[in-house]
């Protein structure tokens, strides 16, 4: 530990030599030198964009936790790019007709890196940990849904009982957030999992060696790994010897680290840097549209002014999304039209095309109709002497520079039709307080995910802020509730999709919210990195990567 830390203080070239031996020294030390003949082994230095709020996926809220721990923590099932469910740590499974019991037959021969065998008891310990109040799970418990208990039928068979049907459970079971810690680690270090490092022990092809907050996380290859899912690019142990993830929050630093060769690959490359990077010698960009909910503006339908559908539609007409998207993202991203990104399984296909038009005239007309006819000294609209003002709270630490810029662009667009948008910076405590009370007019966020059941957390009347959901528009729509409940109870895939599409159409029709742009995950890599691909969640698949 001590020696590695010391080595990491040395220049990059020496670091590489110290960690992985002289074989790849040439490749790392001088990019102009011919690449060494080895096609595998070596260290990948990877620039990650976000620092996890917790290194325990069961507790964490940040998507990056799942992204970075995928090589360590594995799941019962694997999700193919088309959304179908494949076996992984479970060989097979059955769902009871009432949709309340999922019985998994576990794969044999799987062990955690601390030697503990993976069995039914391990599944139970993990799911119980996810739902334990002490874990204060921010994401994983939601994926488990109406969890009742896990029953150990025998070491190879485990039954998960739910209190209500939860049709997305199977695809959720493929998420890293429901990945498995070693039961020994859970027992001995349950309180330390969030700090990551050696406390996090899984069955994956890599072990989690160490983490330095704000700086880096180090992963090492596991020699005896041999249970990759059928969706993986290969079988057996990983190609990379180790992964050093540098936590580089600032876009400029992450891109700078890539161009200067301090990292071999970097994720979430800002759109305005893509063109420049593509031109650079040997750099290639791997990209995939991020599935889930695009960056979306939620209008608070529970209070004025956005309790009036005309005001909501007016605002939607007023914003030149295409123009802002083009400017902020340099033409790299596309405008979004639906509540779910088109790459999400179950997305309504008609929203791949324009669903409303940009028209200031229509916006002005609708606002006039809604009674906002007066104008004050600053040019904002008024009704009964009250200015048309909307407040948008945001948490500085969680809003990316691009999204913030986007908000400012929207602010100016609304000003042009006489609507004042106030951006209110808050700390997360203040934000939770205000959203929980519904004291806001606009709230914006994106939500990564690959199942349409996301809609339930965002638009069901039971999913209000402060009550466990993220219903940003504070929608209370009986029709939507009905469809969402039905979809949750339906095991039939086609029927489920049809219901979720109805929900999406109603949301757009009512202008409860409007999406801004479809983000893509852009991972840039140097030429020596091969096999870099993005999985169904648009996350980097470290297992398939090699370094020449």
């Amino acid at each position: 530990m001590y020696t590695r830390r010391r080595f990491l203080r040395l220049p990059v070239t020496l670091t590489a030599a110290a960690v992985i031996g002289p074989a790849v020294l040439t490749a790392c030390s001088d990019s102009s030198a011919p690449p060494s003949a080895r096609s595998d082994g070596g260290t990948l230095r990877y620039g990650a964009a976000v620092e996890p709020d917790s290194w325990d996926p069961h507790a964490a809220s940040t998507a990056v936790t799942g992204r970075l721990l995928r090589p360590v923590l594995e799941s019962l099932v694997a999700i193919a790019p088309d959304g179908t469910v494949k076996p992984w740590l479970a060989d097979s499974w059955t769902v009871s007709p009432d949709g309340l019991t999922y019985t998994f037959t576990l794969r044999t021969g799987v062990t955690f890196s601390d030697g503990t065998p993976f069995d039914a008891e391990a599944v139970k310990a993990n799911f119980d940990h996810v739902t334990a109040a002490k874990t204060a799970s921010k994401r994983a418990a939601g994926l488990l849904g109406p969890y009742k208990e896990t029953e150990v039928v025998n070491p190879r068979t485990v039954a998960v009982h739910l209190t209500a049907p939860h049709s997305s459970f199977l695809s959720s079971a493929g998420s890293t957030f429901l990945g498995f810690h070693s039961p020994v680690a859970l027992r001995d270090h349950g309180g330390d999992l969030s700090s990551g490092g050696a406390f996090v022990v899984g069955t994956g092809p890599f072990t989690f060696e160490s983490v330095t907050p704000g700086q880096q996380a180090v992963f090492k290859r596991r020699a005896d790994y041999d249970w990759a899912p059928p969706t993986a690019a290969h079988q057996g142990q990983a190609k990379l010897e180790s992964i050093v993830v540098l936590l580089l929050k600032e876009d400029a630093s992450r891109v700078g680290a890539l161009t200067s060769g301090q990292v071999d690959a970097a994720e979430l490359i800002p759109a305005n840097r893509l063109a420049g990077l593509r031109g650079q010698n040997g750099v290639e960009v791997v990209r995939k549209a991020v599935p889930g909910v695009p960056y979306t503006y939620y209008l608070n339908t529970a209070r004025a002014p956005f309790d009036d559908p005309r005001a909501r539609q007016a605002v939607r007409h007023a914003i030149d999304f295409a123009g802002i998207v083009k400017g902020v993202f340099q033409g790299e991203y596309e405008q979004a039209w639906g509540p779910l990104a088109p790459s999400t399984p179950g997305a309504e296909p008609s929203f791949a095309k324009p669903a409303w038009e940009y028209s200031k005239e229509k916006a002005e007309k609708l606002l006039d109709e809604a009674g906002w006819t007066g104008r004050d000294a600053e040019g904002y609209r008024t009704k009964d002497g009250k200015r048309l003002t909307a407040e948008q709270p945001y948490v500085q630490t969680f809003v990316s520079a691009q999204n913030h810029t986007f908000d400012v662009g929207v602010q100016d667009a609304l000003k042009q039709v006489g609507v004042e948008l106030k951006l209110v910076p808050l700390d997360s405590a203040g934000s939770i307080g205000r959203t929980g009370k519904g004291d806001y007019d606009v709230f914006a966020f994106a939500w990564q995910g690959s199942d349409p059941s996301l809609l339930g957390s965002l638009y069901h009347s039971k999913s209000q802020f402060g009550g466990g959901g993220a219903n940003g528009s504070r929608v209370k729509d009986a029709e939507i509730d009905g469809w969402l409940d039905q979809a949750e109870a339906t095991v039939d895939a086609a029927q489920r999709t049809a219901l979720y599409r109805k929900v999406q159409r109603k949301i757009v029709e009512q202008a409860y919210s409007f999406p801004a742009y479809i983000a893509t995950m852009d991972v840039a890599r140097h030429g020596k990195v091969n096999g870099l691909a993005l999985d169904v969640d648009a996350n980097t698949d470290f297992y398939g990567i090699g370094v020449a």
Binding site: D251, A252, V328, Q330, T405, G409, Q411, D412, P425
Partner: protein
């Protein structure tokens, strides 16, 4: 601020001999420049070529040129016009902070200087402790307690300046109160607070103005520093520091967004520091 007091603490005689820099043209230049800045502050419309908040996404990230003298930022806003309009907030924060610092410091210093031994001792120990901390750290703590934003940043920096002014005022108050004419007044039955008003305040005024004029410079640096950390004014309002923060991620492709406001900060600070020093020299003579 600490920079400033560190210099002010130096024996004045040494500073006084270093007149070369402060001979007349050099003494005039900062005044002229600051006057120009003040003009920009009061009449930004005369100088700006565009509306500072007006976005024009089609013209994003243009380099400096005829249409946009200092280029445009990522939303196509005109950097020159934003710089011109940003003058107001940058300087208001600094002036507001300095006033808060001077006011709070004067009050604290007078209480310590004119109060009893114990009050003085207690207050000055607190001041000593606070003086040990860098100004930015103190300001950050205040922001952590109050939250960010234009007003809170001014309060934070002002609060961080209080101990410096307090020490100055307290020292002057002690000097004046111990002088013979105040003693005489006390013998004649004039209450202490009237002596304070009549004698201490006018005597403290001069050095206070000197310190404040230099302190203004560091208040600008601290204020823009907090804005660079994203704690300053909320859009669409912008000061120079938040402009630097806006451009921080575009250094590789669009350096002009950050460089220009940073230069503005430096120029104004140089000017206020020069003026402060010449005031100081005059006070010493």
């Amino acid at each position: 601020m600490s920079t400033v007091t560190a210099l002010l603490d130096r024996p004045a005689a040494a500073t006084a001999r270093r007149g070369a820099l402060l001979r007349s043209p050099a003494r005039l230049a900062p005044l002229v420049l600051l006057a120009a800045v003040a003009l920009v502050l009061v009449f930004p419309g005369m100088f700006a070529t565009h509306a500072p908040e007006a976005t024009d996404v089609a013209a994003a990230l243009r380099p400096p040129g005829a249409a946009h003298w200092l280029g445009t930022d990522q939303l196509g806003r005109d950097v020159w016009s934003r710089l011109v309009h940003g003058t107001r907030l940058s300087l208001l924060i600094a002036v507001g902070a300095t006033l808060i610092g001077v006011g709070g410091g004067a009050l604290l210093g007078l209480v310590a200087g004119c109060g009893g031994q114990r009050v003085d001792f207690a207050l000055m120990r607190v001041v000593d402790v606070l003086l040990g901390f860098p100004e930015l750290l103190l300001a950050l703590v205040v922001v952590a307690l109050l939250g960010g934003g234009t007003v809170n940043v001014a309060i934070a920096i002002g609060t961080a300046g209080v101990p410096h002014y307090a020490r100055l005022v307290r020292g002057q108050a002690r000097l004046v109160l111990r002088s013979e004419y105040v003693e005489a007044a006390r013998v004649l039955g004039v209450p202490a607070w009237r002596s304070v008003l009549r004698h201490v305040l006018p005597n403290v005024g001069g050095p206070l103005v000197v310190l404040a004029s230099i302190g203004l410079g560091s208040a600008i640096i601290s204020g823009s520093g907090l804005s660079v950390l994203g704690l300053g004014p909320v859009p669409p309002e912008a000061d120079w520091g938040s402009m630097v923060a806006d451009g921080k991620d575009f250094l590789q492709t669009a350096w002009w967004i950050s460089i220009a406001p940073g230069l503005a900060v430096s120029v104004v600070v140089v000017c206020t520091t020069l003026i402060g020093r010449s005031l100081q020299l005059r006070a010493v003579r």
